[in-house]
Symmetry: C2
Subunit: 110 residues, 2 copies
């Protein structure tokens, strides 16, 4: 972790799925805003990370999408969780917790 990171690598899919589980449907730009605002600007997701990630999630069948109009009257693609996406979210969150607990044992030993 020598340099400043935008997020913990490997957690972007989890962050997106979790965001969608709170607000649904939401377009890509909105997801980025949601993450930025709920983290006070810590997570500024690059578009070059976000949109490929959304493509991955579509391919996996964890989200689906439909085109529509944003609140600002722009053309936007709205994403929603599928049933499989909800299951995946639970898995990812459990896996994250498992790794985090191990991390903390190393970082904050008794």
């Amino acid at each position: 972790m020598g340099k400043r990171l935008d997020l913990l690598p490997g957690t972007l899919d989890l962050l997106i799925l979790k965001s969608l589980s709170r607000i649904q449907p939401m377009h890509g730009y909105g997801i980025a805003q949601y993450l930025s605002s709920t983290t006070d600007g810590v997570f500024e997701v690059d578009e070059g990370s976000l949109y490929p990630a959304l493509q991955r999630l579509l391919l996996e069948g964890w989200v689906d999408s439909e085109w529509g109009k944003s609140e600002n009257n722009r053309r936007a693609r709205f994403y929603s969780l599928t049933a499989a996406g909800t299951r995946q979210l639970r898995k990812d969150q459990a896996e994250f917790d498992r790794l985090l607990e191990a991390m903390l044992r190393v970082l904050r030993p008794a």
Copy 2:
């Protein structure tokens, strides 16, 4: 995080530096054992991850090394933190805490 991971990507350098800050000097194999045992087997660091990481840390000047004999009388390379390594550890740990706090705001919203 679709698959089972060995550790949180991007945190290996931090884990190594932290390990060395507890026990020093320590050889590569010993670091892997230390991480495995303090995490009850959650972190099983592959050799193909560990040794390149140690090379990185050497190059950055965050650790130095000298050859010697292990407890089992094997030829082994012992690593220690440098002053720069100690500073880097503090930075990495602060950065990890920053990102973790943001993660938790997303994952466990009030």
